[in-house]
Symmetry: C2
Subunit: 330 residues, 2 copies
């Protein structure tokens, strides 16, 4: 078996974070923790895509500034997003004169970018790296589903793409949250074809990575204060708990899903939040804050991604999914 | 200034490669070197996208097999492609039970995936990794430009997206081509908006990375047997030579562009080849062969990418570009 779990012997650390979120998102639990709360989801831009890109630039800049650093001290920017050709990340990178590694992991991007950034730092190839991603409800809807103007009815198993972005400054040394290990996911496809049911599609990938992680490390679930998945939503979270329980791993007591907790129940979003911005915002506001203030000491951050496109779905393909896990310790 | 150039102290090596190319491509110089020459560009599939995905799977499998390895010995697959949500790479990864890192660097993907794979190997996180990418003329045309059925006239500054794929097996040890360093590119945008003139758009990014590489390493152009860019084409190559010469670096004697050499002049492709498959096929067939047989000892492989989308162009944006360089030594 190939090696899925990697250990960072030099323990790169997150020395600063930045986050931004939309109006709907800030009504919920993250509202108290997010750095920048938007009053206008267009962020002063003329298109949804430009607003998404601006949010991403905002948190990249924020993470650098919050670390007390300047742009020219950063060695690598690792970023991606949900839009075709990851234009939010590429155009954001244009604003910064920093080496850029574009990644695509759909909603797993926050974990993938953190793992890649940590690997470059750990190997001595960089002193400072930024890992960042984001999403925008309106740009995702029109790319993946229908134009908002159509007013299409949303089915009860659907989730709501988070408008928001998060970024982390990963450094070789300094005070912060240590990244001690990562388990890189495999593509898992249980044959789900319902593009409105991402939670069901992604849950098997999350289960696969979590099971691989505990198998490789020999740790117990109780060693973690929190096992936090990215955007499975309420239904997907229940499926994940079932799938891991069936394999003899009971994560119920320690598991939380960013998509499940991000919105208030009174919001009209059915199963919860989704999108690359979902776990990025929750990690880089709420979870970061809880870790820095001592409420959480060890967290397994498992961001999940659905690797479909409108073309693959149109050609009758099911939805391949992936989940990457990163171990965060304070 | 952030650090753009990284040195691999453990010198990961390419111990095997695999390549596949379409009928038009195999009429040219690579025809004698490519592992699999397609007689049918559909590769027995019902859609262009599925054919592209199958080519990518074919070279991933080929690289593993040619190294005398089995799939379950591979630790990481690093791959991406030009299609929305990199579906060729994601769906190819579904066929292999290997940890998958999806990357997006447009036509720079071969260099980006090699650099990322080498970093994981160099840091001791993996023993074997596969870096692979590809493209298909017909899937790229209908996604980025016009459906083939329209019969749109191609302007003289245009290039032809290569139908082909290439993959490299990067290992911790073994006989092969050593990856000794890499210079990760920044996003460069000179304001070109002509989506038919990728060579002009990408040349400044190639110049930026090449100049940064020689600045950081202190090497001379003459230290390399070849400085090979990805898919600038004939016009882009001339612009690159001008731009570097203006900055005091004369690469004329050692420079070749994969896009410029891949097609015979009698083919109707104007400036030459492009696409992620262009540099992937040339590197993993022609250049690999020349290096293994002693014709080339040290090569700077600089794959270039245009990070636009139809949405960004439609919203009036210019074309941000990137180039990543990898040093290959035999």
């Amino acid at each position: 078996m190939g090696n899925q779990t990697i250990y960072f012997k030099n323990q790169p650390r997150i020395i600063a974070v930045s986050s931004i979120a939309g109006t709907k998102e800030c009504k919920g639990i993250i509202g108290r923790y997010v750095e920048t709360a938007l009053s206008d989801d267009m962020f002063g831009e003329s298109t949804f895509e430009k607003a998404e890109c601006k949010m991403l630039s905002h948190v990249i800049d924020g993470a650098i500034t919050n670390a007390g650093l300047k742009r020219d001290q950063i060695d690598i920017l690792v970023s991606g997003d949900l839009l075709n050709q990851i234009i939010s990340a590429s155009f954001a990178a244009r604003d910064f004169s920093i080496s850029f590694l574009g990644v695509y992991g759909a909603c797993s991007t926050m974990a993938e970018s953190l793992a890649v950034a940590a690997t470059f730092i750990d190997g001595g190839h960089a002193n400072y790296a930024v890992a960042a991603t984001g999403s925008h409800f309106a740009s995702a809807e029109r790319q993946y589903r229908y134009p908002l103007e159509l007013g299409t009815t949303r089915p009860p198993q659907s989730q709501w793409t988070v408008t928001g972005a998060g970024g982390a400054l990963v450094a070789k040394e300094g005070d912060g949250i240590r990244i001690t290990a990562a388990t890189l996911g495999k593509v898992v496809d249980y044959g789900v074809t319902d593009v409105n049911n991402m939670g069901a599609a992604m849950a098997p990938a999350a289960a696969d990575t979590i099971l691989a992680h505990f198998r490789a490390t020999g740790e117990d679930v109780a060693d973690y204060d929190l096992i936090v998945t990215g955007d499975l939503g309420a239904l997907g979270s229940r499926i994940l708990k079932d799938l891991t329980w069936e394999k003899g791993l009971d994560i119920s007591a320690n598991h939380v899903d960013c998509g499940e907790i991000i919105y208030n129940v009174i919001e009209d979003e059915f199963q919860g939040g989704s999108g690359a911005g979902c776990s990025a915002v929750v990690l880089n506001s709420y979870i970061h804050s809880k870790m820095m203030t001592g409420g959480l000491k060890k967290v397994l951050f498992v961001a999940t991604g659905a690797l479909l496109s409108t073309v693959s779905s149109g050609q009758g393909e099911s939805i391949p999914c992936i989940a990457h896990a990163v171990v965060l310790e304070r």
